[in-house]
Amino acid sequence: MASLSAVTRSDVDFEETRHLVMLAKPIVRRGSLSYVRPDHLAMRVTSPVDETIEIDGSRVSVRSPSEQRDFDLAQQPVALAWIEAIRASLAGDERSLEQRFSVGLTGSAESWDLQLEPIDRQVAAALKRVDVHGSGAALNVIKIDTARGDRIVFTLSPAADRRP
């Protein structure tokens, strides 16, 4: 985990699977994810539809061929918490994680697991836990569980254009 904090920029491909209690079948989305220190996160979705989500601090902009939305999550601690879980994990920013979550770390430097549980009660009422699995300086899986039973799984792999 500590080795992550040396990262100033990371670009990975992702596959996101949304298991939502409302839906009979999961939604699968693919694309690339890039993080630039300290707090810029960009998600470029290419499948099933094109969409770009950029996050700077608490400001979010969503761009797709059909819509364009900007909003601020400063007043929405739940959404902010789960964005921070991803961003701080990518950044290896333990201090930021510890501000919002009770952090558990197991495994070895080669294969580690991070368990995050929200400290804030309001956040915990909506966001149950976030589990991160990594190997060395790479993140492999981010699993998010919500209180109402939704689960979102991000599987990350080195960016296609950088693969050896």
Partner: protein
């Protein structure tokens, strides 16, 4: 009683009187700034509506705030901090900058009552096809964006009724959001706040203004952010401040000028100081009398009253300038006593007419003037002769002045006559009356422009146009409002207006709520219909239990009432927009961004819907006031004639004496109109003062006082000179009110003096008294 003993006794009695009045005013004086006192006791429903709107309406409380001059992120931060501070400030009862938290209670109410409020609630909406159509966009959004919390409400409100209600409420009204707060197109952040004080409570508005500036200083936090704000209240506060500052500055200048003249004429500081005493005593006791009779003194009464008492400043002049060499002040008084009494009584008679004009404000003004001139006259007659130093007389001897009147008098009369004809001819084709309050507004055009810009950017209601729906009870008037909605929507589609605030959108009629309730299917039907829709959309019907429960609750819920809205911005709006008046119920519909009033008025015409033009309404009120005031002045003029006829013991002489005054007043009015100043209510009050002053000129130019013509001339020169100094200074003011009064009196006093000189036979041998 020796002369000295008399002086001491007079000082003591006067001192006791003034002290008593000062103590009374110091403990009991209530200055009231509610300008409705100067509106007629409103009779028609429309007029009552206007008065209520002006006094308490939301428009008067609304503070429009813009933040500019820095990067958007800084502006947004400042907006957040400022909104936070203002929402905690007791001077404000509502604030919104577009952040979600300020609409939280409102959103909660809308969500809770969505099935009573949404116009989407129809029987078709809850069939399988209806649910599928309504759910489509929501399900689609599950695969977009961050995805988790944006669709939080889908399980509870799958058909999106809350969103529908919110969208309808903010349509065309709210500005665009950036960085989570409102921004205008030019890149400035926007906020609105509602003051707790009403728009007509200027002190309260001043406090709110100060609180806003304090909060802004704290919120800007050293950045380059600038504050621009506007509100009817703030504009009134600023215009009051401008008037007060201007008036004090000019009063200082004119006081110095007058002191100079008096010092030159009297050459005695003691005598100069004595000149101020009668009028000041009159003002003090007059204010005390008004406070005693009415329970409070209106700020305008004080302002206008001290103008009208300008006449009393002349009383000492008439006495002092006429003390001859080797004559005591008492002997001089004996000669002019009758004339002085007439001067006082004519003014009191004219003011008495104001008592019955039908406006509390005018009645106060009348009482203040009556008491004021009686006291000033009394002090001049009773105390002044005792206070004037023994053996003092005006040092410029009477013989030094010319003792013969000009021999070209006839020619002068002809020339003056021709000039008057010319003035009337010039004035004939022009507008005589100006009933537009806005023209009296002393604020620079830049401030008015800023108000328009902020109002348009925030979609705040237009201060001028609104609709008034009227019916027998609350239920009927709400139903009428609902019937009007399609026409309003249509007008918005045409671009004739940008938005409207219809109270029935958040407090629907009972009938409408009943209709919506009966459109909701029972639990079995709903589940069956939903299951059918869910299959085609790949949904888990079990996840939508909250929806089934909510619909079931709504089917048996009591109807939404006004009390359900309390504690929210919606509640404040409902409270202001649904009101009872004289046994009828009214819905007020504020309109914003009205661009085509003609088409709009046509399209919205309905039997119980009235198109209100507040500007037109205030004009008609003002015109009403003018008519009443004119009638009072005419009655006052008749009373003055009676007093003069009695005093002069001849009706012919009374008419003869009144003639130059009447001519001067008419000529003053015509001159003002001819030089492009249509008459306002302020000109009218000033003309009343001219009448008072002019009557005195005419009375004292009459031969009865037994003074040589040169003394009479000198007397006129001194009193007219001081009056002109005071009011010509006022006429230089940039403030419309002060300028109007100053200009009117300057022209009027000049004409009165000139016409009295020309028309009155003061040079004749004195009549023995």
């Amino acid at each position: 009683m020796s002369a000295r003993g008399g002086a001491v006794g007079a000082w003591l009695s006067w001192g006791a009187l003034v002290l008593a009045a000062a103590i009374y005013l110091g403990t009991r004086l209530r200055v009231d700034a509610d300008f409705a006192a100067f509106l007629p006791a409103a009779t028609t429903s429309q007029q009552r509506f206007l008065v209520a709107q002006l006094k308490e309406g939301v428009a008067g409380r609304l503070l429009l705030i813009g933040l500019r001059g820095d990067a958007p992120a800084r502006l947004a931060d400042t907006s957040r901090a400022l909104a936070h501070l203002l929402s905690a400030d007791p001077d404000f009862r509502y604030v919104n900058n577009g952040e979600l938290q300020y609409a939280l209670r409102d959103t909660e109410i809308l969500r809770e009552h969505r099935y009573q409020l949404s116009d989407g609630v129809t029987p078709e909406r809850f069939t399988a096809a209806g649910i599928r159509a309504a759910l489509g966009p929501g399900v689609e959004s599950l695969s977009r964006g961050i995805g988790l919390f944006e669709t939080d409400s889908l399980a509870e409100d799958p058909t999106g009724e809350t969103g529908r209600v919110v969208a309808r409420l903010v349509a065309g009204v709210h500005p665009a959001s950036r960085e989570g707060v409102w921004f205008d197109a030019a890149g400035g952040a926007l906020l609105i706040a509602e003051t707790r004080a009403t728009g007509s409570d200027l002190d309260g508005q001043e406090r709110a203004q100060a609180a806003l500036e304090r909060a802004f200083k704290a919120a800007r936090d050293g950045s380059r952010v600038e504050l621009v704000d506007s509100s009817p209240g703030a504009m009134a506060v600023q215009s009051r401040a401008l008037i007060v500052a201007d008036a004090s500055r000019l009063a200082l200048v004119s006081s110095l000028l007058i002191l100079g003249i008096l010092a030159f004429v009297y050459r005695s500081s003691q005598v100069v100081l004595l000149c101020a005493i009668p009028a000041l005593t009159g003002l003090l006791l007059g204010a005390a009398a008004v406070n005693l009779a009415f329970g409070s003194v209106h700020a305008i009464t004080l302002g206008f009253g001290s103008t009208l008492l300008g006449e009393a400043v002349d009383y000492p002049g008439y006495l002092l300038t006429r003390i001859a060499r080797d004559e005591t002040a008492r002997a001089a008084l004996a000669r002019i006593a009758r004339t002085l009494a007439m001067a006082v009584l004519t003014t009191a008679a004219a003011a008495a007419a104001l008592l019955f004009a039908g406006f509390p404000g005018l009645a106060q003004l009348g009482l203040l003037t009556i008491v004021g001139v009686l006291v000033a006259g009394g002090v001049t007659a009773w105390a002044l002769p005792r206070w004037v130093p023994a053996h003092w007389h005006p040092p410029l001897s009477a013989t030094a002045a010319r003792s013969r009147v000009p021999s070209y008098r006839r020619a002068a009369i002809v020339i003056a006559g021709l000039m008057l004809v010319a003035v009337f001819a010039l004035a004939a084709g022009r507008t005589w009356w100006d009933d537009d309050l806005a023209n009296l507004n002393p604020l620079p055009a830049e401030l008015k422009l800023r108000d328009r810009e902020l109002r348009s950017a925030l979609g705040a209601p237009d201060a001028r146009w609104m609709l008034l729906i009227d019916d027998v009870d609350a239920e009927s008037v709400l139903q009428s409002a609902e019937r009007l909605r399609p026409a309003l929507e249509d007008a918005r589609a045409h671009g004739w207006l940008r938005g409207f605030d219809l109270v029935s959108d958040y407090l629907p009629s009972q009938a409408m709520q009943q209709r919506r309730r009966s459109a909701l299917p029972d639990a079995m039907t709903l589940r069956a219909n939903f299951a059918a829709a869910a299959r085609t959309l790949d949904l888990n019907a079990e996840a939508f239990e909250p929806f089934f429960a909510a619909v079931d609750r709504a089917r048996s819920a009591p109807p939404l009432r006004a009390t359900d809205l309390s504690g929210s911005a919606l509640g404040l709006r409902e409270d202001a927009l649904l009101r009872q008046d004289d046994g009828r119920w009214q819905v007020i519909v504020p309109l914003s961004g009205v661009s085509d009033p003609v088409h709009l008025a046509e399209a919205l015409a309905a039997p119980n819907v009235r198109w209100v033009d507040l500007q037109q309404l205030s004009r008609s009120l003002l015109a009403d006031f003018r008519l009443h005031a004119l009638a009072a002045f005419a009655a006052g003029a008749l009373l003055v004639l009676f007093v003069m006829a009695a005093g002069l013991r001849s009706a012919t002489k009374a008419v003869h004496t009144a003639l130059p005054v009447a001519a001067a007043i008419a000529a003053t009015a015509a001159t003002l109109v001819a030089i492009g100043h249509p008459l306002t209510v302020f000109h009218l009050v000033a003309l009343m003062l001219v009448a008072g002053i002019g009557t005195n000129y005419a009375l004292f130019m009459d031969a009865r006082t037994g003074d040589p013509p040169a003394t009479a001339l000198r007397s006129l020169a001194v009193v007219a000179g001081t009056t002109l100094c005071a009011f010509a200074t006022l006429a230089t003011s940039q403030t419309p009110v002060l300028h109007a009064i100053g200009l009117t009196v300057t022209i009027g006093a000049t004409l009165c003096a000139a016409l009295s000189l020309l028309l009155l036979p003061f040079q004749k041998t004195p009549v023995a008294t």
